[in-house]
Amino acid sequence: MVKRQREKQRVRKQPGSREARRLNLGDLRFGTELLKRGFASMQKGGVIMDVVNAEQAMIAEEAGAVAVMSLERVPSDIRKAGGVARMADPERVLEIIDAVSIPVMGKVRIGHIVEAQVLEVLGVDMIDESEVLTPADEQYHIDKRLFTVPFVCGARDLGEALRRIHEGAAMVRTKGEAGTGNVVEAVRHMRAIMGSIRGLKGMDRPELTDYAREIEAPAELVIECAERGRLPVVNFSAGGIATPSDAALMMQLGADGVFVGSGIFKSSNPPRMAKAIVEAVNNFDDPKVIAKVSKGLGEAMPGLDVHKLSEDEVLQYRGR
């Protein structure tokens, strides 16, 4: 019922100006699945960068980022600070929105419906329901179909990715392990998803249905993956990308694009690192270009061994 009311609100007549009537325009539809997935599709082949203020957002835009992710602290600082990590201050988000013309995304806690409503009102272009922040709900994710803005969600394997898509996510990003500067988990999760999809090839319908039960995903989405040979939405890589080579590696493994969190603004020369990662993603299959852009970049962000993290420090276990 609530859903139907929302749907209704999202269809608007053209503003009643005489010109609009003369142009004989139909209804306008907002927040449809096609618009949400279409927005995500426009990000393909791009780099989305974490930023905490307007100055960083402008550096990211200048370097060629397709979008920026506004947040209170980059993941490596969230690790250091401890405590509860929440949505960024709205004032900060607005400052970033005003500073750049590229899309601005924002992170909310898993299951925190109201933080998402606040970001939507502020005008954020996409919401990341993110395990990097402290979860607000350990059982349920947000019902993302109720929103006009699209969502991106993290996933470690095909089942998790398809559960998020079923809830309305218009984009998936593999979780990796944020704030570590260590690409190993990003690789593990990308390989898990791509490998599972490759494994669907040759399965007949009963086998696909059985497999869907096994990975706790809706059967129709598993069948759609089998038919298309890919996820039904755009799939980016995230969580541990610290160098141009890391970014190109994720592209070679099948990512549609990358999120870089701490990797840029925790390096010794953020503007150069940002530009180098954009070029590496664009030329991910050309090692000569990657060699060139990697020269003399200075220090990458300090890395962490993910095997030495205690269980409650591992962010990827949040949400499933």
Partner: protein
């Protein structure tokens, strides 16, 4: 006749454009020798009869055009150009934002993100001048408009916010995304205009 279409593959909605042109070519009964392929380098451009510049982020694509030294080759490209959304921004002569360096191939002034942010993105049925078969279901995503066009530019469609579809010679520019729907009438119209 066979026709070779390149899709500028620097960033954005590349595979959808390739798919839409393949469907349009098949619908028009073109031979198997026709092909649609990604274009990344100046050498790729030499093989093309037409070039599609897809949607994506215009500031990013503009920067990558410069980095990949495609700026001059595209300006000198003798074939037709099919530009959508970010492509429409890039193909214009004037853009309201200095972060984009437009290629100056269609005489028009662009207002980027004229409709607002993503929550203002919309779908609608749009009348397009001279298009048979009724209005075109158009998908506008953080779309631009043209606020001014020069002589020699034909306006195909407009909304209260501005002009959203134009033709100039063999070039076509659209503020919306025909590659996201199943309707290939505008792709076909562009291909017919190439007169190959």
């Amino acid at each position: 006749m066979d026709v070779r279409i390149g899709v500028l593959a620097l960033q954005g909605n590349v595979s959808e454009h390739i798919g839409a042109f393949e469907r349009a070519l098949a619908g028009m009964g073109h031979t198997d020798q026709s092909s649609v392929f990604p274009v990344k380098r100046p050498a790729d451009l030499e093989r093309c009869d037409a070039l599609a510049i897809p949607g994506g982020e215009s500031t990013t694509i503009s920067r990558l055009i410069d980095k990949n030294q495609l700026d001059e080759p595209i300006r000198r490209f003798p074939g037709g150009i099919f530009a959508t959304c970010a492509g429409m921004v890039l193909i214009a002569t004037r853009v309201d934002d200095p972060k984009v360096r437009p290629l100056g191939l269609i005489d028009m002034t662009i207002d980027r993100n004229a409709f607002g942010r993503q929550k203002e993105s919309f779908e609608t049925d749009l009348p397009v001048k001279g298009l048979l078969g009724g209005p075109f279901h158009a998908i506008f995503i953080r779309a631009p408009v043209a606020t001014q066009t020069g002589l020699g530019v034909t306006v195909l469609s407009r909304l209260p916010q501005g002009i959203v579809a134009v033709e100039q010679g063999r070039h076509m520019a659209l503020a919306f995304h025909p590659e996201l729907g199943g309707d290939t009438r505008l792709h076909e119209r562009f291909l017919k205009n190439l007169k190959i």
